[in-house]
Symmetry: C2
Subunit: 153 residues, 2 copies
């Protein structure tokens, strides 16, 4: 196995990692909604405009999935990640609309080695996404498991 750039040791409390950008397209919003969340405001521009979301808006779960892709591309796929047991909190702060350009970052809040598995560490992260106007649209906190360098060697 090729050594990954990011192991448990490489995460520093207080450090922030850039998540790049993601342009949200109407086609992707409608495709995701058609499969998983077929509420009218996620499928149709007019219905979205008539709703409190104010336009064709991504399903909140689609925003979660787009965030995950940004996290993967930023560092997760080049890490010793072993997955996560869940999510502590997700906030859909503002609608994510067709044409929005998302950007964001992930900040390391805390880290500790597993008590039962010494080659595994737990990294608690807080992530935020913003739209092209700098408005916060999404926040997430969760804890991801990473192998140590020794554990992944």
């Amino acid at each position: 196995m090729t050594a990954k750039t990011w192991a448990y040791e490489d995460f520093v409390e207080g450090a922030s990692l850039d998540l790049g950008t993601k342009l949200v397209s109407a086609v992707e919003i409608i495709e995701f909604a058609g499969e998983f969340d077929a509420q009218a405001m996620h499928l149709d521009e007019a219905a979205g405009k008539a709703s409190i979301l104010g336009g064709l808006a991504a399903s909140g779960w689609h925003t979660c999935a787009m965030f995950m892709r940004m996290l993967c591309d930023a560092f997760l796929l080049d890490s010793t990640s072993q997955g996560a047991p869940g999510v502590d909190q997700v906030k859909w702060k503002r609608p994510v609309l067709a044409g929005d350009l998302l950007s964001g970052s992930t900040t390391v809040l805390a880290k500790r080695l597993s008590r039962s598995k010494p080659r595994l560490g737990l990294v608690t992260m807080r992530s935020e996404l913003f739209n092209q106007r700098g408005e916060g649209v999404f926040e997430l906190e969760n804890t991801v498991m990473f192998l140590t360098r020794e554990g992944s060697a």
Copy 2:
């Protein structure tokens, strides 16, 4: 607009709603992962078996999306839902593997009318999914906004 079956008034504290079933296919797991969460254990049977997940396992976000589809089909698409501001907690308790048959329910924990918008109510729900062995694989708590009957008339 056709009247929806489920408005704010129809949710009863303590009542449970059946979410039906969902068969999880390898093709769907790989398709979702390829787009949003391309970690090896979500893309490849052998990599999944070698991981702590023990098989080709759905991305946790895919499980969230499949849950949302079950919720939509069970009652949400036939409701006055106005969306949700976020999620309080998601637990990925056990791996969701290719071939698993998910079932589950949503229980109404609490409800109250919005203080600022009298035609809107907030319903707090706890949802659980189980696999074909009755093992809990997923839990979620969140609060969904529904219009009252009057508000949606």
